[in-house]
Symmetry: C2
Subunit: 359 residues, 2 copies
DNA sequence: AGAAAGCGGGAATGCGCTTTCCCAGACAGG
DNA sequence: CCTGTCTGGGAAAGCGCATTCCCGCTTTCT
């Protein structure tokens, strides 16, 4: 037994499909009371559920919002996803999820898939890459996005614009002040620490990571401090752990034979998850935080707030970011300003906690 | 400029739409080499993207998998979602996300929305409720699911079957041995602790919580121990924290004037997030784990593994659960056994760590 | 060599719904 | 009383694609 159709409902109610459509699925023209009632009864006596595909085809709009993340299980993206979901609900739309692991090629495919489904808008939450080897894929991604926009789609990307995307109508970038905040973190840290700094960064070319590194170095420079050493690794817990191991060796003075004794370090991991990984490694090596090393992260992931020692970090309104990005793609939101179009201002907050309290 | 259509491609290639369709979107009949090539060239010179809505309408199948969770930012659901996402990719489908906060009424709406979009299958990850006030909504949910299945939809629910859902074709339940595992945890805990036990549970009627509570009590009984006291609260970190506060008072002997001195406790929180909340509360009250109280959770949430003291818990293969549930809805997976249909066996593992090492 | 079978391609129909366009009747004004 | 303007309902034309027929052609078997 197939689902019942509008036509069946119409027949049962003794009206034309046109009329049935008008009463059941909001139209400008409102049929008379009596008729409306008859149709409505027929509809739910049949358990009628409109076929969204057909509706979409006819109206050419689907009520879908595409969301692109690296990994939905990463708490950073999960938090953003929650915001997106909320905003989607406000707009009475559903969200289509795509996880890409951050590969521009996969992101391009996701955009194409969203376009195929005629998603009304697309939110790209993943961080951009400017690496040499991603150049080509990025260009294709940009082209795909352009095409999508030109066909009336709206897209919002959080963080950086997609490399090479020329911005036609409906292309929004939600800037996240990674650099400024990292700078602010650095200066606050510098105020309470006069030893060396070291940064655990993601792979070069990962824009989010690069920004935070750059901002941190700037902040250090502003405080009259020497630039921090940089350890590049994966942008996840495993990377943080690995880097932590190396740093532990360094701190314990095993790093190179030249030093007799290790040196304390203030570590800045470009995101919380990496910071936690690094902290775990240090602990595994018998070092204590903040006694032997202090450490700070970035994002203020909710699930990690109970971590001990409490992690210094930069609070980012992740959920809000998801919400704003999604709202930016809502047709109504266009009202602001067609030109200029000042982007919503995202702000974060340096949050110093126990992990960076020098003993 | 609207997206180009199959007809346009066909015209450019000088063939009929039928032929173009056959070469571009996998069909049984394969047109000749030369023609195929011409069509393909025309297609990407036009940047043709098939309209999935139209395809869906024509084939009546959408390539969509609906996923229902309580909250995508909850690491438990995020982990499952990752598994679902993976399996979806295997099946070359996309996942539609719906978050419901656990309310049966919302879940019903989500199912209806998925049905409207003609989702090929639905995975329900949220825990079921058997509360009095949800009775009615549950019935409606069940009705909605039934209808969906009868129209050829396939659904998988993890944990418990939806209350009152009669199982027609295509209704799968992925059983999670919450009770057994909680029992196993209890007996292992009982082996190393001879004091009192207390359970921090979710609201009554939350089946997942109830199962774990029941299992734990059974395990205790099996070990010849008195049943644990039960503290009901919200099924999240806040609830855990609140309960933790109460327990702290109890342990410190402030609970009631009758006791001179507090008593140590072995706490079982029905999920990791609650356990972390409780632990945070105890610490805030100046108590130490495992010195003043030991504590165990359930789920073995990945992000929480670096928590100190390391949390004893029961490892659940969350990602695998998502994967299996999704695969269970794949048409091919029906092959197993139409009758009986032995459900995939999910297994967990009691994982004792530092948080329950009695001093 | 003639007929039957096979094969590659096109015309046409329909999936379920929205939306324009049209039409009959109601009503008001001249 | 006739004409002009509304108003509410129906007929029909797509939306973009898959698919069933159907047709003319080349093969293969007797």
């Amino acid at each position: 037994m197939a689902a019942s159709t509008l036509t069946e409902v119409a027949r049962l109610a003794g009206v034309s499909p046109a009329t049935a459509s008008r009463v059941l699925n909001g139209s400008a023209r409102k049929p008379g009371q009596d008729i409306a009632e008859r149709v409505r009864q027929a509809a739910d006596s049949l358990g009628y559920i409109p076929n969204a595909q057909a509706q979409g085809l006819a109206k050419s709009s689907s009520g879908l919002i595409g969301l692109i993340v690296h990994d939905i299980a990463d708490p950073y993206f999960a938090a953003i996803a929650r915001g997106v979901q909320e905003a989607a609900r406000e707009q009475r739309k559903m969200v289509l999820l795509a996880t890409t692991g951050g590969a521009p090629a996969e992101e391009k495919e996701a955009v194409a898939a969203f376009a195929a489904r005629r998603a009304d808008s697309i939110v790209i939450a993943g961080s951009r890459s400017s690496r040499e080897e991603d150049q080509e894929d990025n260009a294709e991604l940009a082209a795909e996005l352009d095409r999508y926009c030109r066909n009336g789609g709206r897209v919002a990307v959080v963080g950086h614009p997609v490399v090479g995307a020329t911005a036609p109508e409906g292309y929004h970038v939600l800037a996240v002040p990674n650099q400024e905040l990292a700078g602010a973190l650095a200066s606050e840290l510098a105020a309470g620490w006069d030893g060396d700094f070291v940064i655990i960064a993601g792979p070069e070319g990962l824009l989010t990571s690069d920004d935070r590194v750059q901002g941190f170095q700037d902040g250090l420079a502003g405080a009259g401090r020497a630039p921090a050493g940089i350890l590049r690794t994966q942008f996840n817990r495993a990377g943080g752990y690995e880097a932590g191991l190396k740093l532990a060796a360094h701190i314990k003075g095993e790093g190179d034979g030249t030093r007799e004794t290790g040196r304390k370090l203030c570590i800045f991991a470009v995101n919380d998850v990496m910071a936690i990984g690094a902290a775990a490694a240090l602990r595994a090596e018998g070092l204590r935080i903040p006694r032997d090393a202090t450490i700070a992260g970035f994002d203020d992931i909710e699930t990690l707030r109970d971590f001990r020692p409490a992690l210094s970090t930069v609070r980012l309104p992740l959920e809000e970011i998801g919400r704003l990005a999604t709202r930016a793609t809502a047709p109504a939101a266009e009202g602001h300003d067609s030109d200029g179009g000042l982007p919503q201002p995202i702000t974060g907050e340096v949050t110093l906690r126990r992990s960076t309290e020098a003993a």
